[in-house]
Amino acid sequence: MRLTKLARHVRSGIHSIRTRLILSYLAIALLPLAILGWLSVKVYLGSMTERVTDYSAEVVNRVAQDIDEYFRDIDFLLTRDPDFYIDQFIKLVQNNSVTNSRKYVFRIWEDFNNLRRVKPGLEDLAITFGDGRILSSYGFYYTDYVPQDSELKLVGPRVNRFGREVVTMVRPYTAEGGRDVWVSADINLERLASMANLKASPRGYVYIMDRDGQIVFSPHGHEVDNSEKVLINTVDSEVTGWKIVSVVYADEVEAELAYLKRLTYGGIILVLVGVGFLAAYLSHAISHPIRRLQEFARQATLDAAAEDLPVAGRDEIAQLSTDFRTMLARIKELMSENLKEQKLLRKLEIESLTNQIKPHFIYNTLDMIIGQLEKEQTEEAIYLIEALGNFFRLSLSQGREVVQVASEIEHVRNYLYIQQLRHGQGYQYHIQVQEAEVLDYLMPRLLLQPLVENAIFHGILPADRPGRVEVVVSRSHDGIVFTVADNGVGMEPGDVEQLNRILAGEAAAQENRPCFGLLNVQKRAQLIFGPSYGLTLDSEPGQGTRTILKIGFLDEQLALDTSESA
């Protein structure tokens, strides 16, 4: 249950304007950054690979140059002009005599050791004889290695007599009597290592390979690390024929990119954080008023005070809030007016009803019925009772506020009949409906009866002569017109005018000249149909009065609304 609620909350959050705004802003910021970062990495990787390759080529060229220079010097030592002391020593040895060799052997040792001192990396110089005897800077001894080559040759790496790893450069000694004699130089691997100590990258290295593909020197011993993807650059040494190989690990190049990547990612994160805050602020600035408005609307539906809505800013949302507040105020005002109107209408109806059901009206009518019964005018009595019953039934109309025109006409007819009997047939009445279709129209009840009552009591009866009440119902283009005319005493023009002004709301009703019934009808008609509808009076003294009531068409919905609001 909680999960469902949480999921609903999340879904609601995701679909909120604020979330969508934030995600949109982030997407807008992330997309160009990601594209730019990707392009930067690609371009930088290419550039860096090219740079590393160039530098690696420089490295191997430099190493090859150093090696060539060094071995050229060594070869120069080996190919120098025939040395008198060496020549004499060779002759003595080849004659198997070392007697009186001291002069030569000592000079050779001294010479060889001096060369060792001045040439770093030169581990030993030696003269090797075909029988394995060797005179070197370390003495005069025997060796298992006897060169057989007739040309310059590089041998090794190998471990020399004293446990040092060396590369031996050997060539035949060319002096007289130097047959089967070789002169050689041992170069220690530390020297090669120092010459190959250039590298194109922190983990990269340079190794040296001979013509046969054997490793001469490598920082990894006599092997090459093949466990990783590498960038290789090679160059051949002219003097030695060796291949100088520079190795750069590919991941090192990529590792250098890591900085750029970190920078890019950092930038993206920073921008995203910044955009996130900005988006949160902007979305808050936009969604907050909307949410306030939403909250306010919700409160408004609960009849909360619309005036409490705080509206800040000048943007569209603020304007919308202002309009919304105005609209709510107007709605409230209209509702208030409507309430007042409905209350008034109800009051008017009650008053109208109360006015009709006056006690003496009832008593007199009942007296008339009793009198007719006493006179055994049973049929008239029944008819009168029936008219009275219809009168009350129609007055109440089962609580409905809207009745058919036919019903209202019937109500007036009963009223006129009863009043006619009450007042001794002192007047005639006639009801004329000009268009029968009008009878089916709807209208507020008890609008017509007050007019008829006025015609009887204020027109016909004061005239003290037989009178006539004429009721005409007709249809106009915008409503239904009821005309109630009498031939009674009529009114002075000033009174008519004053009365019409009162009905039009232009003047107040006078205390001594009550016109309660007319005002009641007028207000009710105008409340329901508007100010263009209502009553107008026309009268001439001694000629009678004509009252015209115009009402609008009530459709079913309006009738229903009117009835419900009442």
């Binding site: 001291r102 002069k103 052997v105 050791n113 370390y138 003495g139 025997y142 007599r161 446990g163």
Partner: protein, 328 residues
């Protein structure tokens, strides 16, 4: 007659076969002796070098002559280790009597390689025996000669100052010579040693040190050379030394060879005691090969070679005996 011919032919074949067999066995057993002087750069060992090789030729063995050019214990250790590694049959060394060398010799002995010393002994190493001079006696003879010279000059009542040049402080033979020297002059001369110069067994350095010292201390009375390191150059190559000696300085020393005799002739040196390095070389090979082949030892752990003496009295005779080396 025919039988006689057949018998003679068979005997000849047998003899040839036996000779070839013995020759093959001999070749298969050709011994290798490692010879380790203190340094290659000190010409004093050249006599030993030549004579050791000559003796090796005579005995049908190999000699491997190995040393650092300039003396150093580390260099000697590397050489001894290389000989052990090569599996030579015996080793002859002139070393400092220091623990590192002792240990190296003991390693060789432990691997069945007999080791003897020459010139400079290492009695603490367990070597089989030592071949050399009586170093104490050599020093004593030099001291006694100094006393005679001083007395002859009427300086024996004076307070004398002296400087001593030696090689390595740990060389036992040099220490013994100095002991003998002071024993000889003890109570006879009022000799005060102002300085002891250590030349690290380096000939070139020895010459520089002598010249430098005498330039700054020309008033020193006596110079005692425990070995002949600076004697390989003509007197004119050491002007300060020559000037000092001609001004009355007295120089005595140990080691006799042709160039040293020339210095004696020029009056730069007054007396020399010589050691027979040639015999040391020859005996080193001979006695060790004999031990390897027969198991016989000399019967003593010190095989002494004789001393020779040089002064103005026998100079011309000696110049006829010694040949110039011309190594410097």
């Amino acid at each position: 007659m025919g039988d006689l011919h057949k018998s003679t032919a068979c005997a000849g074949i047998i003899v040839v076969v036996l000779i070839l067999a013995c020759w093959g066995a001999l070749a298969a057993e050709q011994l290798t002796i490692g010879f380790v002087p203190r340094s290659l750069g000190n010409p004093i060992f050249l006599d030993a070098f030549e004579n050791a090789h000559q003796k090796a030729l005579e005995l049908g063995v190999r000699v491997e002559w190995l040393a650092p050019f300039d003396f150093s214990t580390e260099g000697q250790l590397a050489v001894i280790e290389s000989l052990i590694e090569q599996g030579v049959d015996g080793i002859v060394v002139s070393v400092n009597d220091v623990p590192e060398i002792q240990a190296a010799i003991q390693r060789a002995l432990a691997q069945g390689i007999p080791v003897i010393t020459f010139d400079a002994d290492s009695p603490g190493s367990g070597r089989l025996f030592h071949i050399g001079i009586d170093n104490f006696k050599a020093g004593w003879e030099a001291g006694a000669a100094l006393v005679d010279i001083v007395r002859a000059r009427g300086m024996d009542k004076q307070h004398l100052t002296a400087v001593i040049m030696t090689g390595e402080p740990d060389a036992l033979n040099l220490v013994q010579r100095i002991d003998g020297f002071f024993t000889a002059i003890g109570g006879k001369l009022d000799l005060q040693v102002d300085e002891v110069l250590h030349n690290q067994d380096n000939v070139d350095l020895a010459i520089i040190m002598v010249e430098d010292y005498l330039k700054h201390n020309p008033d020193v009375d006596v110079f005692f050379f425990v070995g002949g390191w600076p004697f390989y150059v003509p007197s004119d190559a050491m002007p300060a030394f020559k000037q000092w000696a001609h001004a009355g300085g007295i120089a005595v020393g140990i080691d006799i060879f042709y160039d040293a005799l020339l210095l004696l002739r020029d009056g730069v040196l007054q007396y020399l005691v010589g050691q027979d390095m040639a015999s040391m070389g020859a005996l080193g090979v001979e006695l060790l090969v004999d031990y390897l082949r027969t198991g016989r030892l000399p019967g003593t752990d010190f095989v002494e070679v004789g001393l020779t003496y040089a002064s103005q009295e026998n100079l011309q005779e000696l110049l006829q005996i010694y040949e110039p080396w011309l190594v410097k």
